[in-house]
Structure formats: structure tokens, C-alpha cells
């Protein structure tokens, strides 16, 4: 193995790399709101007046404000990402790009990069712990963030790979997440960001009574469906209600004396506690949501970092989520056909994106949406969602505080539940219950300037984004 050339400041980047010629550049979002790499790299692009850039960040967070400056300078042609919120998302909702916005899924992004449909020129990879040969891991160093899952496809396929690190060690790393053979440069900086920033407000278990009620109903649903048995697999994400379901399941599992085979996706303290209590055999971790998860990656051999491809790429032979029994997911809107929107609000403003939503809903045996029926007078259920993030054919159940609706396509589930005490309703009945309180909202006019596409995990376009 050869040692990689080291660059000592962002300012030297243009001397080493032709940033004007290589327009397609990618980033990962593992440091979430604590990341400073994206802003610092893009500062160079601003200084150098690089035009017609195509950005491929795996997600865009509120802290990534440099993108906003480049947008205002008209330096960006297109943006491809899996999730975005904050000022950049607000801006893009109103101001069309010269190119377009492409919203992908975690699995779909990896798939498209690995099968060469997406050409990445430069991958800028924030890496907390790097050896001179370009090997990197994410769960050691001073700016740790855990799994590096979303950056691995980028490292394998980008023409130029730059690791940005604030911890360069002397000895060779064994068993790295990023393999040094793909790496071209190491950029050494004082800090790649703030680990605390990975903890988002949503990774708190809910104590809100409505959330608690929804979680309780969801737990009953899982039990009544007969899914709670030895060796089951589960993904909950980090939403407050989902985490409450996880906690409830833990109690049930202890009570029944059963264990789960694996949990996947984003990992939190709650999942780690269950691993350490022997309630689950393995954690497949594509992203750490808190510090406990990072610490666990370091010490628990059954807690394994995986790449986005191994996580959710439908073409990956080792895809983890194809063995998933249950996934719990959120929704900002759901419609009569069970299509789910987590990409825009009901006014069409971009507030999120699929992430692994559409991937896990497609693969898991049962996908369950948990959400309050009404949020600030806006009913969850629409005749048609503003934007389709996940197609209704992949969604099986909806649990709200006022009842449970099962997708009519899942007659098998309906049959199983018919003799139980669960409050089953049709999705239209649930909507009527909501209208009893809110009244029917005025239908908003559909906007007509198309500004982007929503892809499913096979990269088929399933809906569009419109200018607000």
C-alpha cells in the first residue's frame, strides 16, 4: 500500500485538484448538524467562482448554509440527495435550479453510484480516524460519528476521493470502513465538526400522551399480527414514537422470554441497551444517532457498521433489509391509497425526504406508519398526498391515536386482526374522524413549475417536486 499525499488546508485544494473541471461532487451527512466539512469545502468553490456544480450530498441539514451562498451566486446546476431540511430546503422550494433536484432513497443512491449510472467526480469524505494509506473508520478519533455507511459507495466509485480528517494516525488501520486503495488525497484540518451535532431533537423517546397511545396501539398490533416471536427482526428509526414502540417491545420480549435476530438502520441508545441486555443478536448500523451508539460500535462486536449498499441496495446480494420483518416509519401525509409523504409539507415546501423510508417499506414483511391523526389542525390523511415519497403498495398499516387502518391490499393482515379488540377502521373513516374536529381543509392549488423528481429505490421516478 502506498501513502497518500496530504493536503494541509482547504485553500490548497484547487492546487491539487481541478475543481473547475470536475463538477459532480459528493458528501456524506454522518456528522449531521455538527458537520463543518461541507461548508468549508464549498467555501473554496465560492472563492474560486466554480460554476454549474452538481452536488450529491447524502442529505442536507440546516447547518449546511454554504450551499445557500452558492445557490445565490448561481454556482449550482443540480442537487441530488436523499433528505433535506432547513434554509437550503426552504430556498429550493421557491427558487428552481438551472438543472433539477433529485430526491433518492438511501438504497437507491448507493445502487445508482455502484452500477455507474451516477458519475461522481470528487467525493469529499469527512473521516474521523485515518491512517497514512487512506484507510478510515468513523467510530474513533476526536470528531467521531460512528458508522460511515453512506460514504462507502462514493469512495468506491468517485474519480477522486478526498478524505478530510482531524485525526491522522501513524500506524496502519486494520479492517477499515473506507478502504485506502480507493483514496487519492488526505486533507488534514483542525476539526471536521462537532460530534454533539449528530444528536437531533427527534432521537428522544416520546412522553407525549398521544405519542404514547400510538406506540401502545402499535405494540398491540405487532403482537396481534403474531410478529413478536423468537428471531424476529425490526427497524424503528429514531422518531419519538418509534422509540417508544421499541421500549414497549423490549418489555414484551422480556415478558415473553424471546430475542430478536437483528435491528437495522439508524441506531440509538435504546437499541444498544437491548443488544447489551441480550435481547437482540446483531445491530446493522448504517448511521449512529447518538453518542451511545458510537461507543457501542467501538466495544460491541455484534454491533456492525454497514454500507448504504449492504443496508438497502436492491442489487446488493447481502442486502440486510430484505430479511426485515417489521419497520416503523413516520408520515407527514398519507392518502386513500396509502401513499406516504415525508418529503414536503402540505404546502409543498421541502422538509425532508425518503432516507431509508421507501427502501425499508418495500422490503420489510410489514411496514407500519405511526403518526398523530391531526397536527395543528392539519389532518394527516389526504385524498392524495402532496408529494409521494413511498408508494402505497409498500405500506401495510397506519396507526393513529384514533384507530388503525390496514391497507386493503393486505387482506391477510385484516383476516388475522378481525377477531381482536384492536380499533380497526378504514382510512376514510379515520379521515372523517379527523374532519369532525378540523373541518375539511381547503384544497390547495397545485403548483405547476416542476423543479425536481422523486425516485424510488430502483431510481424510477414516482413523483415530482413543484415550485411553491
Amino acid at each position: 500500500m502506498t501513502k497518500k499525499p496530504i493536503i494541509f488546508s482547504y485553500k490548497q485544494l484547487p492546487e491539487e485538484i481541478d475543481i473547475h473541471d470536475f463538477k459532480n461532487i459528493s458528501f456524506h451527512h454522518h456528522l449531521r448538524n455538527g458537520d463543518t466539512v461541507l461548508n468549508n469545502v464549498l467555501q473554496i468553490y465560492e472563492n474560486e467562482h466554480v460554476k454549474k456544480l452538481n452536488l450529491f450530498p447524502s442529505a442536507i441539514f440546516p447547518a449546511y448554509t454554504k450551499i445557500l451562498d452558492l445557490l445565490k451566486n448561481n454556482q449550482i446546476n443540480g442537487i441530488t440527495t436523499n433528505y433535506m431540511n432547513g434554509p437550503v430546503a426552504d430556498y429550493l422550494s421557491h427558487q428552481p435550479l438551472p438543472g433539477k433536484i433529485t430526491m433518492q432513497t438511501h438504497g437507491g443512491r448507493a445502487r445508482r453510484i455502484l452500477n455507474n449510472q451516477t458519475t461522481l467526480d470528487i467525493a469529499y469524505i469527512a473521516s474521523p480516524y485515518v491512517d497514512p494509506y487512506g484507510n478510515a473508520i468513523g467510530y474513533k478519533g476526536k470528531s467521531v460519528f460512528g458508522s460511515m455507511g453512506y460514504a462507502i459507495a462514493d469512495a468506491q466509485k468517485a474519480k477522486i476521493v478526498v478524505l478530510i480528517t482531524d485525526k491522522l494516525i501513524d500506524t496502519k488501520l486494520e479492517d477499515p470502513e473506507i478502504d485506502g486503495s480507493y483514496v487519492d488525497y488526505i486533507l488534514q484540518v483542525d476539526s471536521i465538526g462537532d460530534t454533539q451535532g449528530i444528536v437531533s431533537g427527534t432521537t428522544q423517546i416520546t412522553t407525549n400522551p398521544i405519542g404514547v397511545k400510538i406506540a401502545k396501539q402499535t405494540t398491540s398490533l405487532i403482537k396481534e399480527l403474531g410478529l413478536l416471536k423468537n428471531g424476529f427482526s425490526f427497524q424503528s428509526g429514531a422518531g419519538g414514537i418509534s422509540l417508544r414502540v421499541t421500549e414497549n417491545l423490549k418489555e414484551e420480549m422480556v415478558h415473553l422470554g424471546i430475542t430478536a435476530s437483528f435491528f437495522s438502520g439508524g441506531i440509538t441508545q435504546y437499541h444498544v441497551d437491548m443488544l447489551e441486555a441480550g435481547l437482540v443478536d446483531k445491530l446493522y448500523d448504517v448511521q449512529c444517532f447518538d453518542l451511545a451508539a458510537i461507543n457501542s460500535l467501538r466495544k460491541n462486536t455484534n454491533h456492525m457498521p454497514i454500507s448504504a449498499s449492504v443496508y438497502a441496495n436492491p442489487e446488493d446480494p447481502n442486502q440486510v433489509i430484505k430479511d426485515l420483518d417489521i419497520v416503523i416509519l413516520g408520515a407527514t401525509e398519507i392518502d386513500y391509497d396509502f401513499n406516504v409523504n415525508v418529503t414536503t409539507d402540505s404546502h409543498g415546501k421541502i422538509i425532508g425526504g425518503s432516507g431509508g423510508h421507501s427502501d425499508t417499506a418495500s422490503e420489510s414483511k410489514v411496514s407500519i406508519i405511526v403518526s398523530p391523526l391531526i397536527r395543528s389542525r392539519i389532518p394527516l390523511i389526504k385524498e392524495r398526498v402532496t408529494t409521494i415519497t413511498t408508494l402505497g403498495k409498500h405500506i401495510d398499516c397506519l396507526v393513529t391515536e384514533r384507530g388503525i387502518a390496514i391497507n386493503p391490499k393486505r387482506q391477510d393482515l385484516i383476516d388475522k386482526l378481525s377477531k381482536t379488540n384492536l380499533p380497526l377502521k378504514t382510512i376514510k373513516q379515520l379521515q372523517e374522524e379527523a374532519f369532525k374536529y378540523t373541518k375539511q381543509p381547503k384544497k390547495l392549488k397545485k403548483y405547476d413549475t416542476m423543479i425536481g423528481d422523486i425516485q424510488d429505490r430502483t431510481n424510477k421516478i414516482i413523483d415530482h417536486l413543484y415550485k411553491k
Partner: protein, 271 residues
């Protein structure tokens, strides 16, 4: 017939419009302690418009109005009494204030006993025919007595026992004081069990997340249900008068109690 009486703040629209999802058998909409002095009128108007618009078969709705020494007592009743709800919870109840309230309404009254004097004279209040239930307010009581609340609740053993006995004597429902730590569900369960052992029939609640524990503890036991079923089965063949079951005399009041218990079990989805 309720196991759980959940207090919800009267000036909070978010709580009001979700009052039927928490699984509580009864809801007590609060116009007193949770409503600050300068928003009493806001809360009263809000509850008025809420109950005018939405009707509930379950849960049963009670209103905790302000006590008789405040200017709000009359306003609360005058504005709200015409609405559909089950009854009032009267704070700082005395024999005199219960009688005053009962002259103004035909609705059910739950007397909230929370002063040392009301506990001394509790039987006089419980024996009033207008009083359908008694609620122990231990927080105010212990504060007035200048004693600390303890986790073991040893300090209220006597008043719990006293009220349980007097309520049993007058066939009045005894509702226990709420448990105040919203996060400690394990200790809540202990508290419920202790109250039940001493003779409480139900418990008041100040956080929706407590409802399930309270409902579980105060539900009829499987043993009680089985016994009631046996009584009713035997009663089917003995149309008139008393009969003997397993060597015990079964008469009309016992049969009625068994019927109630079964109705309750059905309502709570235990059957």
C-alpha cells in the same frame, strides 16, 4: 363505576380535544388548580364551547369547578350547568358547600376532601345523598398538616382507611388521591395497590400516561369475574328470592353487585 378519573387542564385546547383517547373511564376537566387566576374566564368559555360542540358517551365527563369561597364558583355553575356532562368535582368540599352546590344542580357530585377539617367531618359529607363519590386530595391535606409526602405514602394510611370505611358504609365510591411523579410507573403501581388494599375503588390521575396502570390495578380480578358469573348462572334457575351457592346465602343485593361487576368487565373488555 369508573376505575380511573383523569384530570385535564381546562384551559388547554390540545388536551380537551383529545380527552377521549387516553382510555380513562372518567375525565375531570379542571377549572381550578391548573387554571391561573387571570385565565379563569378563558377556561370557562373554552370548556363551554368545547362541550357545546362535542358530546361523549365514554368517557364520563366531570368538571372540577372552583370552590365556594371564590367568586368563580357561581360563574362556573351558571355558565356550564346547562351542558351535557356527568357531574361536578367540588374542591375543598364541606357539608355546607355540597348542599349549596346540590341546590343549584341535579348533576352528580364528587366531593374533594382535602382540608383537615373535611377529613374530620368526612362521614357527614359522605352520608349526604347528593354525594356520589369522594375524592381524597392528599397533596393539599399534607401541606395543611405541615407534613411531608413520602414515597411509601405512610402518612395517608389513616385517612385512606377512614374514607374507605365510611364510603363502604354509605355505599359511596372512594377515589384515591393522584400519584404525582409522572415518570415513575413502577412506584405508581405500588401506590395503586396500596390504596386498593386499604379499600379505594378507583384512582384519580394527573398524567395520561398513568391511566393504563390505574385501570389494570382497579379492574375486577379474574377471580371476581368468575365468581360473579357463577352467581348469575345460578340465579337464572332461581327466579325468586335468595338461594344457596357453595354453602353461602345469595340474595338480591349480591346478585345486583355481580351484574354490575360483569357489566363493568364487559365495558373494560375483560370479557
Amino acid at each position: 363505576m369508573s376505575r380511573s378519573f383523569l384530570f385535564l387542564p381546562g384551559n388547554n385546547p390540545g388536551s380537551l380535544q383529545n380527552l377521549d383517547i387516553f382510555n380513562a373511564d372518567s375525565i375531570i376537566i379542571d377549572l381550578e388548580d391548573s387554571v391561573t387566576f387571570d385565565t379563569k374566564d378563558e377556561a370557562r368559555d373554552l370548556v363551554y364551547h368545547f362541550l357545546s360542540k362535542f358530546m361523549f358517551k365514554t368517557p364520563s365527563i366531570y368538571l372540577r369547578i372552583n370552590d365556594i369561597s371564590t367568586p368563580f364558583f357561581n360563574d362556573d355553575i351558571d355558565v356550564l350547568d346547562s351542558l351535557e356532562f356527568k357531574g361536578y368535582v367540588l374542591p375543598k368540599a364541606t357539608k355546607e358547600s355540597v348542599i349549596s352546590l346540590s341546590k343549584k344542580t341535579d348533576k352528580s357530585i364528587i366531593a374533594l376532601l382535602e382540608t383537615p377539617m373535611s377529613l374530620v367531618k368526612s362521614e357527614a359529607i359522605i352520608s349526604l345523598k347528593q354525594v356520589d363519590a369522594v375524592l381524597l386530595g392528599a397533596e393539599d391535606l399534607t401541606t395543611a398538616m405541615k407534613i411531608e409526602s413520602t414515597v411509601s405514602r405512610q402518612e395517608i394510611t389513616y385517612v385512606r382507611s377512614k374514607l374507605a370505611l365510611e364510603c363502604a358504609a354509605h355505599e359511596t365510591l372512594f377515589i384515591d388521591t393522584p400519584y404525582t411523579d409522572k415518570d415513575d410507573l413502577a412506584q405508581l403501581k405500588n401506590d395503586c395497590l396500596q390504596a386498593k388494599i386499604l379499600g379505594a375503588n378507583a384512582k384519580s390521575i394527573i398524567h395520561p400516561n398513568h391511566v393504563d396502570v390505574v385501570n389494570t390495578v382497579f379492574s375486577p380480578t379474574t377471580h371476581q369475574i368468575a365468581n360473579a358469573k357463577r352467581i348469575l348462572k345460578k340465579a337464572e334457575t332461581h327466579q325468586k328470592g335468595a338461594f344457596n351457592l357453595d354453602g353461602k346465602m345469595i340474595d338480591k343485593p349480591i346478585i345486583n353487585r355481580a351484574k354490575n361487576l360483569i357489566a363493568q368487565a364487559k365495558k373494560y373488555q375483560l370479557l
